[in-house]
Symmetry: C2
Subunit: 351 residues, 2 copies
Amino acid sequence: MNKFWSEIANSIEPYTAGEQPKDKKYIKLNTNENPYSPSVKVLDAIRNAANESLKLYPDPTCNDLKTAIAEYYRLDNEQIFIGNGSDEILAFSFMAFFNPKEKVLFPDITYSFYPVFSDLFNIDYKCVPLDDEFNVQTKLLNEENGGIIISNPNAPTGISLPVSSIEEILKNNTDSVVIIDEAYIDFGGESAYKLINKYENLLVVQTFSKSRSLAGLRVGFAMGNSNLINALVKIKNSFNSYTTGKLALIGAIEAIKDNDYFEMTTKKIIKTREIVVKKLKEMGFWVLDSKANFIFISHPKVNAEKLFIELRSRGILVRYFSKKRIDNFIRISMGEIEDMERFIYEINDII
Amino acid sequence: MNKFWSEIANSIEPYTAGEQPKDKKYIKLNTNENPYSPSVKVLDAIRNAANESLKLYPDPTCNDLKTAIAEYYRLDNEQIFIGNGSDEILAFSFMAFFNPKEKVLFPDITYSFYPVFSDLFNIDYKCVPLDDEFNVQTKLLNEENGGIIISNPNAPTGISLPVSSIEEILKNNTDSVVIIDEAYIDFGGESAYKLINKYENLLVVQTFSKSRSLAGLRVGFAMGNSNLINALVKIKNSFNSYTTGKLALIGAIEAIKDNDYFEMTTKKIIKTREIVVKKLKEMGFWVLDSKANFIFISHPKVNAEKLFIELRSRGILVRYFSKKRIDNFIRISMGEIEDMERFIYEINDII
């Protein structure tokens, strides 16, 4: 026990983000960043906004960005919440919708931040096992619960759930909030946002960090019934009135408006994924069916941790999780095609 | 009870930030923003950083900004924590250092976010009364507690505590963490940061929003013993790995380096305050002795709420708190001298 730390500071085991090493230049395929630059329209708008007005607080309601997202998805501003990255929104959601002593359900293999949020806010949880092929077993989500959170596509597997399965989960859980974390939805998955008018307990969370190439700005958003959004607003205003800065808001508005660039870059990443998957399968890898900007792979003969270390020594960073069930997999973010060719060359050489 | 909201979302009463109206152009003296632009060096650096690198996550350790602050204050990087505005750091501090059921002490008249943080994290608190002149009574801070938080200069009074009084508080409280919230320290107060090497339980929190004209960027920082900083890092990494964006980090680095501009603008604000205070006293106002970029005033004959409403109708926004002991005061942020002359003219006309 550290005398000056709170009980929670003493006990909590924080989330570990992918490494951001500075010792040398790597081909960085470990944190699911987008290999393409943000839209030039985004960069121009930010440059124009770097002016005297930064002395003033940003709009705490983030109204202009809400309007841009509402137009894009044909929703109302009242159905949208803006946050400092989707992780902040998830943290607020755990506070806004889940209670201590009421078990929250999520898959045993999923985004490893969910158990950390649960521990931080003293919320019970139960991990529901994925099947042997790493699919979510919706029938296991019918037990009494204080909330459900599903990453779709799932991380780190990349496997996606059809919206029909999400609707099945919603039909079986009308008394608790169901959060669908769609950080990677734009790379081939199907968003559940269309269900928010039908299910008052559905919250869909997305981010500008992946498909819109803006990890450096810190913007995420949630879509849901205005009643759920109001709870998030209450929690945010009890934590930090202004979590999203002016330049982040302005950049995000332009990013959502430049749909052509978004379509072009996401399509390129999907195409790259298809090429890489094909080549890895030819090498004998088990490649899970990914609808994300990363893939999760395992080789029957070569140890994954060894692959991770060997790739690192050759200047290629991927992500390895030393965790039961997935400790013989590595996760590879999709980079530019030239970097992926280099990756294919090196991994082929290693095995 | 709202069925889908957590207990805390149902019960919490959020903090109310100063209004940011859009109906017309006001002389805005209500949210303690700086009337002067950020340094041109800050704006140039942000424009240069609006490039492809925004596709990547920011450095989660914020190391370059820590180095810049460490050089400025002659501290070590390990003694510094960076956050998304000082409010986020205060929220993390309540989680990192305070426990439910152990009473945290703060003055009855102070930053109204402290009781909200307490409620949000289910932490008990006790308000210690300021004396009749609104000074902190340090002798009342000797009772057993689970932590102390003092705003210095205090808000909304502007009254500052000498470092000797803070040292007295520290000497009497060696078993709990003492947080000094120095959001307004650069306008004439004396920072307690020099005591962090001597008192392992002292955390000093500052912001770039006020004296460095960067409210729109969202950057704050804390200084303390590395052991306290480590607790904040643990909590942050259990909440949101990247709370401060790339452009915010880069802007803040230039802001701390451009000391000439900082000195010039803070001196101008202090000078403006002296002029305004003198004129208000001549009109019969009781003006508390402010070391902040705002003043807190009361008139023996004119009701403060009426003053607030009348000023608003004349296009000048100030802040009014309908709260016991201070409901006959208004708080006025220091604007540019031309705006303050207009304020003086209008308030004189009203009374």
